[in-house]
């Protein structure tokens, strides 16, 4: 799993080597908030999205951390074509390499992809851009980050054509974080203090799955709490396929 995403979810201890990660979930499940939290908690980040954020996701209304925000560069390519051009020419337009490359709203760009090769090109170009930044970071002896991590988010509703490309995306994003609505009784919503609760389950080859609860309070703040190991392994509490189908049906 991407170390940046594990950090955003409050994971303790070293994890497996960072791999490109995809955050998947229905509307309102906190995908943007999770990406934004990853950007705030780490070194220099580049945050890409099809349009400007209306407010800072996952933070209380009117609340922001100016120091954290200074480390994030926001760019808003409005179309797939603009995004591809931006990624291909980023080395010329950025002052220095970011240690985190985030793309929010992948489904909106994929809507413009006519087939699997176009979806593969977008995914591959994202991976290639992050790999290029990793090379630049490694060449800088003063650099504070060993590599540039890639995390993208995508809305899944079970109805969009973009989801046809999931098989292609998984080739390029070996780590996936599924956000699924948590049943109130099973999730212990009161622990999160939120009105909406989702389970975040991280999966990647060669590592045990990990699970967290994301609670969203009325003022929009996201709170994260780990699900105990035994509980995450309980098939009744973490029936991933069922959850994914439920999430996709929302």
């Amino acid at each position: 799993m991407s170390a940046a995403l594990r950090r955003a979810l409050g994971a303790a201890g070293p994890g497996p080597a960072p791999t490109p990660a995809l955050v998947l979930g229905p509307a309102g499940s906190g995908r943007s908030a999770l990406l934004f939290r990853a950007a705030l908690g780490g070194p220099r980040a580049l945050f890409l999205a099809p349009r400007a954020l209306q407010r800072l996701p996952g933070a209380r209304r009117g609340e922001s951390d100016p120091r954290g925000l200074q480390r994030i560069q926001f760019l808003y390519p409005p179309s797939l074509r603009e995004l591809l051009r931006l990624l291909a020419s980023l080395p010329q337009s950025l002052p220095g390499p970011p240690a985190l490359l985030l793309l929010d709203g992948l489904e909106q760009y994929l809507a413009g992809c006519p087939g699997p090769q176009a979806a593969a090109r977008l995914s591959a170009l994202l991976v290639d851009t992050a790999a290029y930044f990793t090379g630049r970071l490694g060449a800088d002896p003063q650099g504070s980050a060993p590599c540039c991590q890639l995390v993208a988010s995508m809305q899944v509703s079970g109805e969009t054509a973009a989801e046809d490309h999931l098989g292609v995306l998984q080739r390029y994003f070996p780590a996936q974080c599924w956000l699924c609505p948590a049943p109130a009784a099973a999730s212990g919503q009161e622990d999160c203090g939120g009105d909406r609760v989702f389970r975040a389950r991280l999966s990647q080859p060669g590592a045990a799955d990990q699970e967290w609860k994301l609670g969203f309070s009325l003022d929009g703040e996201m709170r994260v709490s780990p699900v105990p190991w035994g509980r995450a392994e309980d098939p009744g509490a973490a029936d991933t396929d069922t959850d994914r189908a439920a999430a996709a049906g929302k």
Binding site: A88, S89, P91, Q117, A124, D128, Y132, G135, R136, V168
Partner: protein, 145 residues
């Protein structure tokens, strides 16, 4: 290329590299193994390597991409850090049918690295960006809704 191949394929490419460094040719046993692992792409990829069809393009920014001249003379773009090729076989056999590990152009990149047959060419940052985006216009990419 840093993309991940199955362990057996990676090991095979390492053995080919080692054998080629020592003897300047690839032993028949390794050629057979190559055909076993990569199927019909293996012979076609070796032909491309023999014809010095693989060029690594590098820009002043340090970004690199591979260009492979196909058997028809058409240039295809292969990314340096992951498996992606602009050829139709990659779209059909690798992405859609999932019955090949890589296309012959990506395998030719691996083999040209193993045998030192890869040419290198310096291009401008703008040229490299346009090669990364090859065929974008043909695919008719739309705008975000």
């Amino acid at each position: 290329m840093e993309a991940t191949l199955p362990a057996v394929a990676e090991e095979l490419l390492k053995e080919i590299k080692k054998a080629f460094q020592e003897t300047s040719h690839i032993p028949d046993a390794l050629l057979l193994a190559l055909k076993f692992v990569f199927g019909s792409s293996a012979v076609a990829a070796l032909d491309l390597v023999d014809q010095h069809s693989v060029t690594r393009l590098v820009s002043p920014s340090g970004r690199a991409v591979y260009q492979v001249l196909g058997s028809s003379g058409k240039p295809y773009t292969c990314y340096a850090s992951c498996h992606f090729c602009t050829c139709p076989a990659f779209a059909f056999s690798v992405l859609r049918k999932n019955d090949s590990l890589v296309c012959k152009h990506i395998l030719a990149v691996y083999l040209s690295q193993a045998t030192g047959a890869c040419q290198e060419l310096a291009v401008s940052d703008q040229q490299l960006a346009s090669i990364l985006l090859a065929e974008e216009e043909e695919e008719g990419l739309g705008t975000v809704c």
